[in-house]
């Protein structure tokens, strides 16, 4: 899984280049324009230059609402370059400060949670409000002169497609932008631990899962079962596999997870910023001992780790 670091990846650079971030929203603009023309043509028979104008508004206030919606749409689209550039700088940090995957994950997760909650509240709130506003009996819809469905009719759609497209376009922009943003972070994580000069030589450990414990093998051949020792502030690269069935090795405290598949090896990495103890668990059902398939991950001060590592070398050497 050899991936070029994003700082060296020409493709990634191009994606977040100031010029390309201005080109990207053009299709959105184009689509928006196309639909506006089409919709306004439908409204008025002889349309000449109607972009954001309707000849025959159906209800008072509708035109204003429509214009406001269109304006918001365009603002968001034109602001896309700013948004993307901002994000780009975030996804490609300067070389001195490489973020460990756990920090990246937490930041992205929090943004998603906030945005997701916001979107959920807005959409569901809108839904509830409309249901109340147009309730039968004494809601707004009672007095309206609207063609209602009748038994035996062939189905046709209702009107109101304009709103639908605006909402759809808006949600598309939000979702796609979010994903593009996370993609930058994905590239960072996938490119593996940062170069040796910046953070120190990565510690490489082979993790083997079996029913129902984890075995760790270090570079010098030393093996332990149930406990993994790593130094703080240094990247740790894990090669994960399984001896029997499908497991998954995860350290929630380090935001790390890798499938442990018999016959193949998956790779992942992390950086522990401070000494402490974490628990690793199995995240794929593997048999009756699955719930208890845990291991301890002890993050030690770099100097302590070096001492310990030396001592294991003496053992294996003798």
């Amino acid at each position: 899984m050899a991936v070029v670091s994003p700082r060296e990846s020409p493709a990634a650079r191009r994606l977040f280049h100031p010029i390309s971030t201005r080109i990207v929203p053009l299709p959105y603009l184009g689509i928006g324009l196309f639909w506006q023309k089409k919709l306004s043509k439908r409204d008025s028979r002889a349309s000449v230059n109607c972009w954001a104008r309707r000849r025959t508004p159906s209800l008072p206030g509708e035109t204003t609402k429509y214009n406001v919606a269109v304006t918001i749409h365009y603002i968001l689209v034109t602001m896309f370059p700013m948004f993307a550039t901002l994000v780009g700088s975030f996804a490609f940090p300067t070389p001195a400060a490489v973020k460990p995957p756990s920090v990246i994950f937490n930041e992205i997760f929090q943004v998603f949670v906030v945005l997701g909650t916001l979107v959920g509240i807005v959409v569901i709130g809108y839904m509830l409000w409309k249901a109340y506003e147009y309730r039968a009996g004494d809601g707004k819809g009672e007095g309206m002169d609207v063609d209602r469905p009748s038994l035996g009719e062939l189905p046709t759609g209702g009107d109101g497609g304009r709103k639908l497209f605006l909402s759809f376009g808006l949600s598309t922009i939000i979702v796609v932008s979010l994903i593009i943003w996370t993609y930058g972070a994905l590239l960072t994580v996938e490119s593996g631990p940062p170069a040796a000069e910046t953070e120190g030589e990565p510690v490489e450990i082979t993790v083997t899962g079996f029913q129902f414990a984890w075995q760790f093998e270090y570079e010098n051949g030393h093996t332990t079962t149930g406990t993994m020792r790593v130094p703080a502030d240094r990247p740790v690269k894990l090669h994960v596999t399984s001896d029997d069935v499908f497991h998954n090795f995860g350290i929630p405290g380090m935001s790390l997870k890798a499938d442990a598949i018999p016959g193949q090896t998956t790779e992942t990495w992390f950086v522990a910023e401070e000494p402490g103890t974490h628990t690793a668990q199995c995240y794929e059902l593997c048999g009756s001992g699955h719930s208890y398939m845990t291991a301890q991950v002890i993050v030690m001060e770099p100097s302590e780790y070096e001492e310990w590592y030396e001592s294991t070398q003496n053992e294996t050497a003798s």
């Binding site: 009719e153 949600s171 699955h290």
Partner: protein, 891 residues
């Protein structure tokens, strides 16, 4: 008032109250319907004079009939009994009726009740392990039992509850909505039900056979092979699933043929009601997705029963994930789409507004159905696949969420300018949309690969899919309440319905929302971190509230069947589709005349004036039985014992097969029992299939119907083509598995198992000649030569037999050299794939010899279509061999 001719129309003798006699609409029964029709909202049928206006009104319309009367719902049941009896069907109160019926309405009710039964069991299992999860650590169950419980819960809910529940409603409603008298193949419909129900019973048996399957509903390999899961119950589970897949495949073929060929005139595909559209797309997805699951299940069964080494070999784990998730992802849309259709229907009815953006809604559904097959690797982001592939699947996953955005917005905007009535169906439907939106938002988290790296295998996934799937169930419950008056002729208790909704909504959210907070819990564990305890406890409380609300529903619906207020034909104002234009419950033949939308709105044409067919005789569609096609219009049949018999035979046979593990029978009495059951089951199945073929069964006819795009493809033929399409996917998955395993092992390093290709070449010639023989049989039939037909069919049989004998000799030699099924992955793939093909040849031969005997008695001269259909199957089998031969012998 004239009481016109057609005895097919149910009249109860109560002419005074029959609609149309005096031009008044039927008085609303008490305030039985939640929405009393407005003054002009009733439905008038002017009888006898063939005239009458269809007015496009506000909530009401007049359905034109030219010859029938529509009876009053209140006495429908009594009339029903006599009327059904005339058609050879016992009344509702007799058990026999339910065992032999082939009518779609009865089968719909059977599916609904059976699926609710499995819901009960799956739900009780869930409550047990939610009690177990009250605190970290083992409480009331051992680890094995816990694993079995979570696996069984998943299997029962996904396979035996949710889709069959949707199909219960679909079976009942679809023919009514499209204007058909029944599904295209009524006996196959009954067969689908019985194999489904008995496969579920077979799965429940597995609990008593050393414990059920314990590897999760996802059945990851190699945990699923006997080395790690030795109990017989696991064999039974996989076999039960295979039987279930057979049921689903038959059902999809049935629905696809019906939906393409039996629509009322003027009802083009674009004008189908939303529920029908959603079912159409669901069955398309089912046809292809379940074929892939069948391949996965057959491979797993073969590993377990025959001792092949797919799953234990290098790459086997990954092979399983590919096979399973290629099915698994379309499956979740198969589960959700019917709910989506119900959401669209109920939003339209209960807001009094037509669906906003309807054609975009349909386009979105079609897009999702296609895209569902392109996203499966998002379940595999951590399996070490490379970055480019992950990027592609991230993109397709996000792309598939976008049509759903559009659909949800369309539903919400439909409420604007509407008159929203908060009836029980609408409460559930609205609630379903709300819950689905929450589930959908959390799904975007999982689509962002970097987040999926953390969320994989945790309760975030569990909470997400319960929100979307059980959100779908919410809408299905809406459908149950919505169509309950139609199905039973009674109204449920509205107060209890709303209480059910309140309990359901509170319980649901108490159960699943805390799981987002406890997302750090790994899946399928009972030992979790202390900090999550409070969330799990809230969830357990929610589970019990949810279960109690279901108890309310069961009570409400059961009691209402006997003591509910009688319901109108159309208790819902603004409902538009055809099922609301007929009595509640509908009579056996559904409609008072032939439904037609030819002039833009629903009308019923006089049956005796069935237009546009040949001199005096209508083309009678048969169901595979022996009725020849040129007979004059025969009374459609409604009952057959054989589907139940075939289902029982298959159940017994599969029960027996479960005792065969890794190439040998279980020891002692258990082994004997299983062997006996296998033999008995095979005999019963074979005999019943012959009986079914010999039975004289008349299927429904559609003299004038919408047929696009299969206008000239007659029902049986279309059914065969659909079946072959799924068979293509089955073989595709097997060949794909072979290619995958070979790539993993190193393509060049892999020696073909047979030493030389000569036997394979001979087999190729044999098969090609046999195909030619079938063509000769067809030609002979057209030339009226019964001896020619018999000879050609016998030649086909003989060449097929030669093929199998040749293959047997070849295999014997290979076995002698130690190249058995379990030897290694090369032999496993060789024997299983060519063996599957050989099984297809064997089945073809059984058809051929049966047809040979019939041909000697002069059959197929008047109607050579069975030979043509057999030919389609046989040519398909030959073409598959043309792929297998180079792949396994030469390359």
């Amino acid at each position: 008032m004239t009481d016109t001719d057609d005895s097919e129309i149910t009249t109860d003798g109560n002419d005074g109250a029959a609609m149309g006699t005096d031009g008044n609409e039927d008085p609303p029964t008490g305030d039985g319907s939640e929405d009393p029709p407005t003054g002009d909202g009733g439905m008038d049928a002017t009888a006898g004079d063939g005239g009458g206006n269809a007015t496009a009104g506000d909530g009401g319309g007049k359905i034109r009939t030219d010859g029938g009367e529509i009876g009053d719902a209140a006495d429908a049941v009594a009339a029903e009994a006599d009327h059904d009896h005339e058609h050879g069907l016992p009344p509702w109160s007799s058990l026999k009726r339910w065992l032999v019926t082939t009518n779609h309405k009865d089968i719909g009710i059977l599916y609904t009740i059976a699926s609710l039964f499995f819901l009960g069991i799956g739900g009780i299992i869930a409550m047990v392990f939610r009690v177990e999860l009250w605190e970290p650590g083992a409480q009331i169950m051992g680890a094995g039992a816990y694993n079995g419980a979570v696996s069984a819960h998943g299997l029962l809910m996904i396979f035996w509850f949710i889709s069959p529940f949707a199909f219960g409603l679909a079976n009942y409603v679809i023919p009514l909505q499209i204007g058909a008298d029944d599904l295209a193949f009524p006996r196959l419909n009954a067969l689908s039900f019985w194999t489904y129900f008995l496969s579920g019973i077979l799965f429940l048996f597995s609990f008593f056979q050393g414990g059920t399957f314990t590897g999760g509903w996802t059945m990851y390999a190699p945990l699923s092979i006997p080395a790690y899961t030795p109990q017989i119950g696991a064999n039974t589970t996989v076999l039960a699933l295979a039987l279930f897949i057979a049921s689903v495949t038959v059902s999809s073929v049935n629905f696809l043929t019906t939906l393409h060929r039996m629509r009322a005139e003027g009802l083009t595909l674009r004008k189908l009601p939303m529920f029908t559209w959603s079912i159409l797309l669901t069955v398309y997805m089912m046809l292809f997705a379940f074929a892939d699951l069948l391949a996965a299940g057959l491979i797993l069964s073969s590993d377990r029963l025959l001792g092949t080494t797919y799953m234990a070999a290098e790459g086997g784990s990954l092979l399983w994930t590919h096979l399973f998730w290629f099915f698994g992802h379309p499956e979740v849309y198969i589960v959700f789409f019917p709910a989506l259709g119900i959401m669209a229907e109920t939003f339209q009815t209960f807001t009094g507004r037509r669906l906003v953006g309807r054609k975009w809604f349909i386009a979105s559904m079609v897009l999702v159905a296609i895209q569902s097959f392109l996203v499966w690797m998002h379940h595999m982001f951590l399996t070490g696949i490379n970055l480019e592939v992950k990027t592609i699947f991230m993109a397709t996953t996000i792309a598939i969420s976008l049509p759903f955005d559009l659909m949800m917005f369309a539903l919400i905007y439909t409420m604007i300018k509407g008159k929203v009535r908060f009836t029980t169906p609408f409460l559930f439907s609205f609630g379903g949309v709300l819950l689905f939106i929450i589930g959908g938002i959390t799904g975007v988290f999982l689509g962002a690969v970097i987040l999926d790296y953390q969320l994989r295998g945790t309760y975030w996934v569990v909470a997400h899919f319960h929100y979307v799937m059980v959100g779908g169930v919410t809408a299905l419950i809406a459908g149950l309440y919505y169509w309950f008056p139609k199905m039973t002729g009674r109204m449920y208790n509205r107060r209890l319905g709303k209480i059910h909704f309140a309990g359901y909504f509170v319980g649901f959210n108490l159960l699943y929302f805390p799981l987002f907070f406890a997302w750090g819990t790994p899946r399928r564990v009972f030992q979790y971190a202390e900090m999550f305890t409070i969330w799990h406890q809230i969830a357990t409380v929610g589970a019990f509230i949810l279960a109690l609300s279901f108890a309310v529903m069961f009570y409400n619906l059961t009691v209402s069947i006997w003591r509910g207020e009688p319901a109108d034909d159309n208790p819902w104002e603004y409902a538009t589709s055809a099922e609301w234009a007929i009595p509640s419950p509908p009579p056996l033949e559904n409609f008072p005349g032939i439904p037609s939308y030819a002039d833009g709105t629903l009308s019923f044409l006089d049956r005796s004036k069935a237009g546009g067919v040949t001199d005096g005789g209508t083309v009678t569609e048969t169901d595979g039985g022996t009725v020849s096609g040129t007979e004059t219009s025969a009374e459609p049949s409604h009952a057959s014992f054989w589907p139940l018999a075939v289902g029982l035979g298959l159940f017994i046979a599969f029960l027996g097969l479960g005792g065969f593990q890794e190439g040998e029978w279980a020891s002692g009495m258990t082994g004997l029992f299983h062997q006996a059951m296998t033999v008995l089951g095979t005999l019963v199945t074979g005999g019943s299939l012959v009986g079914m073929a010999r039975e004289r069964f008349v299927g429904p006819e559609m003299p004038s119907a919408g047929h696009w795009p299969f206008k000239n493809v007659e029902n049986m033929k279309l059914g065969v083509w659909m079946f072959l399409a799924s068979d293509v996917v089955l073989f595709g998955a097997f060949i794909g598995s072979y290619v995958f395993m070979r790539f993993v092992a190193g393509w060049q390093a892999w020696q073909p198992v047979p030493h030389d290709p000569i036997p394979g070449l001979i087999n190729t010639y044999l098969l090609l000649t046999s195909s030619f023989a079938v063509v000769l049989a067809l030609v002979a039939a057209r030339r009226n030569s019964s001896r020619g037909v018999a000879a050609a069919l016998f030649a086909t049989f003989g060449l097929g037999a030669a093929f199998l004998i040749n293959k047997a000799i070849e295999w014997q030699e290979l076995f002698h050299e130690g190249l058995t099924l379990s030897a290694n992955i090369r032999t496993s793939t060789f024997y299983l794939t060519t063996g599957l093909h050989g099984a297809h040849v064997l089945i073809g031969m059984l058809f051929a010899i049966y047809m040979f005997f019939r041909a000697t008695r002069g059959a197929y001269l008047d109607d050579e279509r069975p030979i043509e259909y057999f030919g389609l199957y046989w040519h398909f089998v030959d073409i598959v061999w043309l792929f297998l031969f180079p792949l396994f012998y030469i390359l």
